[in-house]
């Protein structure tokens, strides 16, 4: 059965969610799903940040695991040199992530449903793409 983590863009009224199998999702994979499901793959002048809504602390550690059914706040904040955007890091191996043309079709109302490549059994299994 699919698990969910909810995220709310800081400026938005409503919440969205990311679905996955297992008991939690890493910050890395959550960000990746947020980027994909909002069609932010071609972004080069911003980064997506996520925050713990209770403490307002940014969840900076990509390996950190967010337990299922919890909520986070997401923000899109500018970076000043395109090369510094970390968006490509998160979508490095995403299907359809190659920016071919202006018409990469991806819904904003439905979230990415593709199978995640990782298992989530609560144990550490760092993503091979995790930046140093």
């Amino acid at each position: 059965m699919a698990s969910s983590v909810f995220y709310k863009w800081a400026s938005r009224k409503d919440e969205s969610r990311v679905q996955f199998d297992g008991t939690g999702i890493t910050v890395f994979d959550l960000k990746r799903e947020i980027i994909l499901s909002n069609n932010l793959v071609k972004g080069n002048d911003f980064d997506v940040h996520v925050y713990d809504p209770a403490t307002n602390q940014e969840l900076r550690d990509d390996a950190h695991i967010i337990p299922r059914s919890s909520s986070v706040i997401a923000k899109r904040l500018p970076v000043f040199r395109p090369a510094k955007s970390r968006i490509p890091i998160y979508i490095g191996n995403a299907p359809g992530a190659i920016p071919t043309s202006d018409t990469v079709i991806r819904g904003t109302t439905t979230w990415h449903k593709g199978a995640l490549s990782k298992r989530f059994d609560g144990k550490e299994e760092p993503s091979p793409l995790k930046p140093a």
Binding site: S11, F46, L77, P78, S101, T103
Partner: protein, 471 residues
């Protein structure tokens, strides 16, 4: 020092860039947002201003300067998708801006729904539009205790205005896009009658000079004529509204004077524009004397004699492209997708054809890239298309150039000048030029160029504000 208050200015967009204008002013507990645009080089959420750091329910008002997408198209998202409506915030724009904004947004929603990058539904759009309060130029509007504003003509496009904002006695002039040259249909931007403390001004053209109107129009019509003489098609990518009307007025008049061109059709490829012609006709009284006099003589300048609408049948682009020489004004101006892109791809391989870029082209768009005259470019289907079509750039974009902008900035006499709506380097050069100008004269004027989300804090003492009121 107790009576010192700080004005915070935060650009959510258009800070050292052109696109997604959105400027937040905070002073003595009040919050005013000027413009809410999208970035034309991006789509979907990536095109929005950086709206995540503001609690939109605290906003007292949103003031929209004009109907261009880079100033107004994020409004629906902000009013319908954020918590803006949980607060008491109001939205204002001029009557003509509201009338055109409605059509612009319908078109915008239709275009973006086809790419599933839609940020909102047609319903959201309707809800957003009904909540807009239309205002007249020169009308003093009281928003809430301590906040009022007056719109002044900005030239640029129909309905465009600058806002002179008063927050608890502090006066801020926000220009939006503006032009200081009267063109064929609009009045030029006005100099407000009193001296603001802060001027927030566009800097699109930085230290560039634009050619004079007659020179520019002459070059344009000659070029169009010579492309037709060599048996080519002329492509004029332009936004459906705004400068397109000016180009049509110029072409219509030129055709009238050149009977040999009467068998050469000028097509205007925009359903949106057809709808908006009614708005242009309604607001003739806001235009300049040239237009008003013609209208008074029952010569409606917006009833064009030599311009035809393209057939609204599928595949018209191909039909026209394969036909005899003609002129086509097609949107969008940046040629990302749509009729202008399709025609470009069809006409690019033939050297007889000509492309004339008539407006400012934002970084990252094909209209900008093609100005470097590449040997080839990539088509929408991923194919490589040779570029033999001639490429020329004649700007009709109705922004101030260096001479006009620096003259206006000096005439406004604000102590703080904040440059917005300009690319980083362009803006940097303008800042350097203005700084040395003031230094020569030993005047203490501060020029700021904040980046997006880099809050600028300006302190004002109580007396200074009181003094400003008296002048």
């Amino acid at each position: 020092m107790s009576d010192q208050a700080t004005l915070s200015v935060t650009m959510l967009g258009a800070g050292q860039e052109v696109g997604r204008s959105c400027c937040v002013l905070q002073y003595r507990g009040r919050t005013i947002v000027c413009d809410a645009g999208v970035h034309p080089a991006y789509s979907g959420m990536a095109s929005l201003p950086f709206i995540d750091n503001l609690d939109w329910s605290t906003v007292d008002c949103i003031l929209i300067t004009h109907f261009h997408l880079d100033h107004a198209a994020a409004l629906t998202y902000i009013t319908e998708k954020t918590n803006f409506k949980d607060g008491k915030g109001k939205v204002y724009m001029t009557h003509p801006t509201k009338a055109v904004h409605k059509f612009m947004m319908q078109d915008f929603a239709r275009m973006s729904s086809s790419t599933s990058d839609a940020l909102f539904s047609p319903m959201d759009m309707e809800m957003s539009i009904v909540s807009i309060i239309p205002v007249s130029v020169h009308q003093l509007i009281n928003v809430c205790p301590g906040v009022s504003f007056t719109p002044y003509h900005a030239g640029h496009v129909l309905g465009a205005c600058m806002y002179l904002i008063d927050i608890a006695g502090l006066k801020i002039l926000y220009t939006g896009d503006y032009s200081r040259e009267e063109d064929r249909h609009l009045v030029k931007a006005e100099l407000p009658p009193l001296r603001p403390d802060v001027l927030i001004v566009e800097s699109t053209y930085g230290v560039h000079s634009l050619e004079g109107r007659d020179e520019k129009e002459g070059r344009f019509t000659n070029l169009v004529h010579s492309i037709i003489r060599r048996g080519g098609h002329v492509l004029l990518p332009a936004f459906a509204l705004g400068r397109a009307q000016e180009l049509l007025l110029i072409l219509d008049e030129y055709w009238k004077k050149h009977p040999e061109l009467h068998n050469v059709p000028i097509y205007y490829a925009s359903n949106l524009a057809k709808k908006c012609m009614a708005v242009y006709q309604t607001f003739i009284h806001t235009m300049n004397s040239n237009i008003r006099t013609r209208f008074a003589k029952r010569d409606n300048p917006f009833v064009f004699k030599h311009i035809s609408n393209v057939p609204s049948t599928r595949g018209w682009e191909k039909k026209i492209a394969e036909g005899p020489p003609c002129v086509v004004l097609a949107s969008p101006g940046f040629m990302q997708v749509g009729p202008s892109r399709e025609l470009l791809e069809l006409w690019a391989p033939d050297a007889r054809n000509g492309l004339i870029i008539t407006g400012y082209s934002i970084e990252g768009t094909l209209a900008r890239d093609i100005m470097t005259e590449p040997e080839e470019f990539t088509g929408l289907k991923g194919n490589t298309i040779p570029r033999k079509i001639s490429v020329d750039y004649i700007s009709f974009s109705a922004h101030v150039d260096y001479a006009q902008n620096s003259e206006f900035i000096q005439a406004v006499k604000a102590q703080h000048v904040i440059l917005v709506h300009g690319e980083q380097n362009t803006m940097g050069r303008l800042r350097a030029a203005m700084t040395s100008k003031y230094k020569e004269r030993d005047e203490d004027v501060k020029i700021h160029t904040p980046r997006n989300l880099e809050t600028l804090n300006l302190s004002f003492r109580g007396e200074r504000v009181a003094k400003a009121i008296g002048t």
